[in-house]
């Protein structure tokens, strides 16, 4: 089943929705504005009735896998269940109806929520203060690096390099480069953890920070984190924590205690705000005392129960987006934290670790395990053992889709060939984990008996594997003026 585009379904005859008339005496735009200001041709938006629109989007919705219907073991993405009460909370008119430029006195509840969320997140990660402004994880990373840069700069210390492990998320080096840093890669050792010898050789007075996630992207805790922190700090550099994997140890340990100076969190991973098919998320950043003066403005301050926005912070890096962050997502995350409490968050992380180790055990005979367990909240397997049958990680991913599971993250981290990165999260039942394990077993067995069936997967979805190479060629042809098909948008056929 496929669904035509709204543009293809558009009927010239569908009139506009009923909307109010102006009911005031005033001139038409064309009477006041010069012709140079007036649009010459109406935009080509579709013309559809409401029932047609609702049916269109219902059909599109039915073509998606989502956490509401499927197990989503997407490593590094923490696809846990999103409690529906979060949505109810964010939709309260007392939040959704607030204009960002209302006076502080009229938004005390919103500011109180932000202040409490800041306190709660600070408690979870062990930092002094948190900015809630960044809109996403990568935005948070970049914000943290800008603060670290400002910190060094304030000491007359022009550091130009940022160290990033080879197993890091792609956003790490991209954020560092966007901040104007030169990125230097640090190698992982045989055990999947950062090589201290390599780190030692790359540390120098020009290094501003080491960006690290712990547990790392292989799902392994960096046992020598305290040594790493000492080495980094001894050279005057700072330690930055990529919070993508925070779900592994809430209530068990804290990045702040490990020596991290700046810590970003993904509210859309660890704190159950929904992913929305790719956002909106929220990427708050927590900092230790040294970095507090550099936090983006405004911060939320509380004096004798009265809340204010503080714009007068002379050392601040400035604002990194409009207003005060993705406030609607902050409400959702706060609702989750209130409902879970300290006890619930701790249990969530323990259960996440338990689920990952249990699932790892279920599939360890079927796939290669490049590193020894136990793992934390996720593990990375490799499909290398199926190479002799011509089966790749991608084939396994697609075969899982046919079995009503979303696929794990594949081909990441880059340090493991044919990587299959599985993060089950704490919100899945044992029955689901068993079913997933059984599906992997069945697929691996099929690799021997009928590999072609795996190459042909998926068969049960609206489309089969899409030819992305041909798509890239078509885009090139368009960009080079050899084709009229833009590929990246719909375009009416020339009449």
């Amino acid at each position: 089943m496929t669904e035509p585009l709204s543009f293809e379904k558009s009927r010239g005859s569908a009139g506009p929705p009923r909307l109010p008339d102006a009911n005031v005496t005033a001139p038409e735009p064309s009477q006041l504005l010069g012709p140079e200001h007036i649009r010459s041709k109406a935009p080509g938006l579709p013309r559809l009735s409401e029932p047609e629109i609702m049916r269109h989007y219902s059909r599109l919705a039915s073509m998606n896998y989502s956490i509401s219907e499927q197990f989503y073991p997407l490593g590094s993405c923490t696809m846990k269940y999103n409690p529906v009460v979060n949505e109810t909370a964010a939709a309260l008119p007392g939040f959704a109806g607030l204009h960002p430029y209302q006076d502080e006195d009229s938004v005390q509840g919103a500011l109180e929520l932000m202040w409490r969320l800041e306190r709660a997140l600070s408690a979870v990660v062990g930092v002094e203060r948190v900015t809630l402004q960044p809109a996403a994880g990568a935005h948070g990373e970049w914000t943290a690096l800008r603060m670290i840069q400002a910190y060094h700069h304030s000491r007359g210390d022009a550091r130009t390099e940022v160290l990033v492990p080879d197993s890091a998320h792609g956003t790490n080096p991209a954020s560092a480069a966007l901040s104007g840093f030169h990125v230097v890669e640090v190698r992982s050792g045989r055990d999947g953890r950062i090589s201290l010898a390599d780190l030692e050789s790359k540390l120098s007075p020009s290094v501003a920070a080491l960006m690290l996630t712990n547990p790392n992207t292989l799902g392994l805790f960096e046992r020598q984190i305290l040594d790493i922190a000492e080495m980094v700090h001894a050279t005057g550099a700072m330690l930055y924590y990529d919070g993508a994997n925070l779900n592994a140890f809430m209530g068990i340990c804290r990045p702040g205690d490990m020596g991290f100076d700046a810590v970003h969190m993904n509210l859309h991973k660890t704190f159950t705000t929904p992913h929305g098919g790719g956002g909106p998320g929220a990427g708050p950043v927590g900092v230790k005392a040294d970095l507090v003066p550099f936090l983006p403005t405004p911060t939320v301050e509380r004096t004798n129960g009265h809340l204010t926005l503080d714009f007068k912070r002379p050392k601040s890096i400035g604002r990194v987006r409009t207003f005060y962050g993705n406030f609607g997502m902050l409400v959702r995350a706060y609702a989750y934290i209130v409902a879970m409490g300290g006890d619930g968050l701790t249990q969530a992380s323990r259960d996440a670790v338990l689920s990952a180790n249990y699932l790892r055990k279920q599939v360890e005979d079927d796939l290669e395990m490049p590193h020894d367990g136990p793992c934390m909240h996720e593990f990375v397997a490799s499909a290398r053992n199926l190479a002799q049958d011509g089966i790749k990680a991608l084939d396994i991913a697609k075969a899982l889709l046919d079995r009503d599971f979303y696929a794990p993250t594949v081909y990441f981290p880059l340090v493991v060939p044919e990587a299959i990165m599985v993060e089950p999260t704490e919100t899945e039942s044992k029955a689901t984990l068993d079913a997933f394990g059984a599906a992997i077993k069945e697929i691996v067995a099929q690799a021997k008996t009928n590999p072609q069936a795996l190459h042909d997967a998926p068969q049960t979805l609206p489309v089969g594997r899409l030819d992305e190479v041909a798509a890239a060629r078509r885009i090139n042809a368009y960009l080079q003026g050899q084709s009229d098909d833009p590929v990246l948008r719909w375009k009416a056929a020339e009449k």
Partner: protein, 417 residues
């Protein structure tokens, strides 16, 4: 489960964590039932004051508009809001097609070739566009004439500093200028001469970046018609509630020649073996997960669900509905500005400049006016003196289709009282 794993206790799974790092418990209250949770959250919501839509005359980048019920009906479908970024295209066709439609809608609205899947907000869209121009031209300065939204300006500066790009206020681009960035209508609501700004940018070998109000484009010449290279903007007005400033959605579109410099996700068509058309992430070689430090941007998670809301809104309105909304807002704002100008001591702050539905008035005792209106239940105009020293006593009023004629009467009566 522990037995299946082959351990005696949970703690055996956590042995890699040095014992000195283990904490006893989080310093947070214990969990609550759903009922208690909502009671606590609702008590915070109750400490905020919400002004009725019809009595909201404040804009400054976030506006009250009629939001069709269809928008929430679609965005609250869990198949949309609980899906991840569409990495597995076969299982994500709904999201991918919706993004492809969003890209087309934005490209149509701005009359440019290609739009991306979304950005965080209008401010970061401006900053990302500046980065595109910097890389494309190899030049290190952007010029900003007139009244760009002050928060966009600040974000642009913070982004630019990291990359060593200078942000200069002014009207004259020079040989070092990568782009001229202007807002149409500007932060005060006034129209700028987009055509001559674009021409001056091009004459200096720089790109022209237009920051536009999406609803205004139902009336105003779109960036593609006057030759701008990149269009950016804030999409909050397209079906998103104010929500104390977010989440909203940034958009960006550009000429064909700049497509490879676009930040973030792009969705394109592709075909399977049976020749069926589908949608998939395209030109990923620009992105951080492939290119790492050489990527065009670090953006990963964007604002997909907000883009979906905007798509539903634009599809619901169609070209005629969007025009109706823009025209009603235009007429009400002009009717209001005439009445306000008749108040003793009040005058248009820039009488020679045209506007659409937001306009600056110079008034005696601006801050007192705003406070007085609040006492009467009206979210009055925005005092822009806070950002611009030269605009003492200048307040901007906003009118949209939600401010019915009686609401205008109430506003004027409150001011006269």
């Amino acid at each position: 489960m522990l037995a299946a794993i082959g351990v005696q206790s949970m703690d055996e799974l956590l042995l890699d964590i040095p014992s000195s790092l283990r904490i006893k418990a989080l310093e947070l209250p214990a969990g609550l039932s759903e009922f208690e949770t909502m009671a606590e959250i609702a008590s915070l919501a109750a400490r905020n004051r919400v002004f009725p839509d019809r009595l909201t005359f404040r804009g400054g980048g976030v506006y009250r508009r009629f939001i069709p019920a269809a928008v929430a009906a679609v965005t609250s479908k869990p198949e949309f809001y609980t899906a991840y970024t569409p990495y597995q295209p076969e299982a994500s066709q709904g999201t991918l097609q919706a993004i492809f439609e969003f890209q087309t809608l934005i490209a149509e609205l701005t009359a440019l070739d290609v739009a991306n899947a979304s950005l965080y907000d209008g401010a970061t869209a401006v900053a990302e566009a500046a980065m595109m121009a910097h890389v494309h031209t190899g030049r290190n300065e952007v010029v900003v004439p007139g009244y760009l939204h002050p928060e966009y300006m600040e974000v642009l500066r913070v982004f630019s500093e990291g990359r060593g790009i200078k942000v200069r206020r002014g009207t004259e681009p020079g040989p070092k200028t990568a782009a001229v960035i202007f807002q149409q209508p500007d932060f005060l609501g006034l129209l700028v001469d987009a055509r001559s700004l674009t021409e001056s940018a091009h004459a200096a070998g720089a790109l022209a970046i237009a920051c536009v109000d999406p609803i205004s484009l139902a009336i105003l010449a779109p960036p593609g018609e006057y030759g701008a290279d990149i269009a950016v903007g804030e999409g909050q007005q397209l079906g998103l509630s104010p929500s104390y400033g977010g989440p909203h959605v940034g958009f960006i579109s550009c000429r064909k020649e700049l497509v490879r410099r676009l930040p973030g996700r792009l969705v394109g068509t592709a075909y399977d073996k049976q020749g069926r058309r589908g949608f998939t992430l395209a030109l990923a070689a620009r992105e951080q997960h492939i290119r790492r430090e050489k990527a065009t941007s670090n953006i990963c998670t964007n604002h997909s669900l907000c883009a979906l809301a905007a798509s539903v809104y634009m599809t619901y309105m169609g070209p005629d509905g969007l025009r109706q909304v823009a025209e009603v807002s235009f007429k009400r704002a002009h009717a209001l500005s005439e009445r306000l100008a008749a108040l003793p001591g009040w005058e248009p702050a820039f009488p020679d400049r045209q506007f659409l539905n937001e306009f600056p008035m110079r008034v005696p005792k601006g801050p007192a006016v705003v406070r007085k209106l609040a006492r009467k239940g009206i979210l009055g105009p925005l005092d822009v003196h806070r950002w611009f020293r030269e605009l003492k006593g200048v307040l901007t009023f906003t009118c949209t289709e939600v401010n019915d004629p009686r609401a205008l009467d109430e506003l004027v009566a409150a001011l006269e009282s």
